[in-house]
Structure formats: C-alpha cells, structure tokens
Assembly symmetry: C3
Homo-oligomer: 158 residues x 3
Amino acid sequence: MSKVEDRLAELGLTVPEVAKPVAAYVPAVQDGRRIYTSGQLPMVSGSLAETGKVGQGEGLVSPERAAELAQICALNAIAAVKGLVGDLDKVTQVVKLVGFVASDPAFTGQPGVINGASELMGKAFGDAGIHARSAVGVAVLPLDAPVEVEIVVALADD
Amino acid sequence: MSKVEDRLAELGLTVPEVAKPVAAYVPAVQDGRRIYTSGQLPMVSGSLAETGKVGQGEGLVSPERAAELAQICALNAIAAVKGLVGDLDKVTQVVKLVGFVASDPAFTGQPGVINGASELMGKAFGDAGIHARSAVGVAVLPLDAPVEVEIVVALADD
Amino acid sequence: MSKVEDRLAELGLTVPEVAKPVAAYVPAVQDGRRIYTSGQLPMVSGSLAETGKVGQGEGLVSPERAAELAQICALNAIAAVKGLVGDLDKVTQVVKLVGFVASDPAFTGQPGVINGASELMGKAFGDAGIHARSAVGVAVLPLDAPVEVEIVVALADD
C-alpha cells in the first residue's frame, strides 16, 4: 500500500474503488506526466452523500457539513488518480484544485468549504499536496450536489 | 481532409471557420504539445444559436435543446484547435473538457447537457476523444448563452 | 526590474507583494515550465477593493467598475507568478485565463468585465500576453468578491 494510503488510513479514510462511468468521458486522463481528473461529486458507494445548496439557514447544507463533503470529493479525486497510476506515491505534486460550491446567493464562505478538500491533499500527500486552487460559488451542480472538486496532479518523470 | 473531419461529415457536421476575436485573447493557444481553447459559445455563423437559461418549464431552454447547443460549442472548440494545428489528426488526446450550463436553480441535469459535447468528442476523435470532464451549473453566461464549453487537447510529439 | 514591470509602471501599476495564505494551498504552483495560479480576488493591501454582484442597477457593481476590479485580480495573478519566478520576463506565454464574474442573473456582459484582466496581460507581456480564456457568470464568489481570475503561464525552457 502506498504511503499516501497509509496516511489516509490513519485518518480512518479508505480510497474507494472508481466506478467507470458508462459515458463519453472517464474519471481521469493521463497526458504525459500529468493527470487531470473529472469533476468529482461527494459520492459514497455510488450515491450522493447529500444534496442541496450550501449556506446558513433552514433547508441549506451547513458550511461545516459542506467541508466534509468537499473532503469526500477530494478522496474520490484521489481514487480517480489511483485508478490510472496504481501507486499514489508516484504523485510528485498536486498542481491545481478547483472547487465549485452550489451556493445560496448570500453565502460567501466558499474558501472554508473547499478547505475540506485542500487540507486532505496536504494530509495525504504532505508537501506534495500543497496546491494552487480556485473556489467559486455556482448556482447548482449535477444531481443537486452541494460540492464538486477537480484536480490536476504531476507524476515523477518515471 | 482529416479523418476527424471525415467522421464529422458522416454526422452532417462541418468544422466552421474561426473568426479571430478583435480582443486581447484568441480562440486557442498552443503551449508545447498541448492546446487550450477559450470557452466556446454555441455560435453559428457569428450569432448565438439560442439564448436563455436551461431547465424544465416555460421560458427555459430544454435539456434536449441544450445538449444540441453543447454539441455546437464542441464543434466550435474543434474549430479553434484546427485553427492552430490545421490537421486535426495530430490530436492524440482530448485531455479535459469543462462545460458550463446557465441553469435555472432547480435544474440538476448538467451532465446530460454536456454529454452533447462529450459524445461529439468521441465521435470525432474515437478513443482519443475520451476525456476527463467537469460539468457545472452557473448563474448566467456571456451574451445570455445557455452553454459554454472549453477543452484541452494533446498533440503528437511531432 | 523586468520589462514586464517597466510596462506596468508606465500604466501607473506596481506588482504587489504576495501574502502567502496560512492555508493548505499557495498563490501559485510551478510544474515543469508551467505555472498555475490560484483564483485571485481584487485584493488591495490585504482587503477586497469592493464587494457585491455585477450588473446594471441599484446596489450592483457596475460593469465598468468590475472591469477595473478584474484588472486588479490580473495584477495579483502576475504577482503570484512573480513570487515563484522572480523575473517576470521568463514568462514566454500567458496560456489560459479564466474569469468568474459574480453576476446579477440579468447581467450578460461578462466578456467586457474580463477584458479588464485580458487587456492587462497584453499590456504587461506584449504578444506573450495574448491568451485563451473563458468568462463565466457565477452566483457568488468568496468573501462576496465581484470578480475572480486565475491564469496558467508558460516559462522559457531554461
């Protein structure tokens, strides 16, 4: 097992299996020594862990819960990378992470939500997990997911 | 004519000419053996094929129509790539596709809409057209376009 | 001082210092000869220059003001690149620029807003500043910022 997965195991987290979508796209693509993942939703065992918009108030997903969901997205992104490279210790750098938060128009705490994903990258990959990132608030996400995360990672030259 | 364009011709599709925007940006940029396109709107002969938000109900662009518009965006993205490489058969991989859908807040079917773009990549480029992708729902797009699509493609080493 | 900064100085602009966020991410990451920046907000001396949604009408940030804010975002993105390379003349190409505009649902002038960022790239980097770009309108941005801009740039081989 990779050191990355050892570190995740210490957090009680397991990299899930990736179900290949029956579709015109795949969870991740390798181009040279870079891997681009598809946007990952907070799916657990094939179902969304939660739906709705993020914000403060009745009927909204709380920012704290949304940060947990962002961590699930990040774990799924790691799984998508593992599906291509096998050994996650081949990842030399998490280059970029983009996080989309389905946001109530009054909610401006997207950075705190996406920290749930960013911090997992640091915990899993150590210094190699420190990335550039963008966090934006969008109107609505696929299947009414509260959060979506995509990453670009770099691999060792060989 | 490239095999890519042959396949598109069989679908009744022609890669349009790219009008270079009189602006501080261009339809696509090549960096090494990768091409990044600008976000492509569903323009046909210089005008938007349709405007509005996507969703179910009165006054909205239907998801089925939006998928057709996503295909037009994808064709324009292919045109932007062709404008740089000339021969589309030099494309070895469609690496990433991002699709933005101007969405009614209740609409969560962004993946189905962006399939209109993803599937065209598969039809045009075969296995090389199978990509990573993200689909998100946004509040509003330039000129009130219902869909916007951008791609990153890789070229052969020479 | 780099030629890039000379050109900016002629416009009365100074590349600011980058405050490294105390967080699980950084303002920019270099991967090979490419640099990806984080999404940049219109921060001036550590505070947002303005907050709110962009559009026409009472209580909204005007498109003209938003274009100025987009220029500030672009300057901050240049600062993030400088923080890694030191000498901005090492940048051989601004490859991609993505601009998110926190938009009133009726506002469709995102391209005009993001021109504030795109045009600065041309002024700062000359031909190397002409990029591919995407402009999208989103529901809300971090800290209620009206605009967010991220870039990818390429560096000379050595």
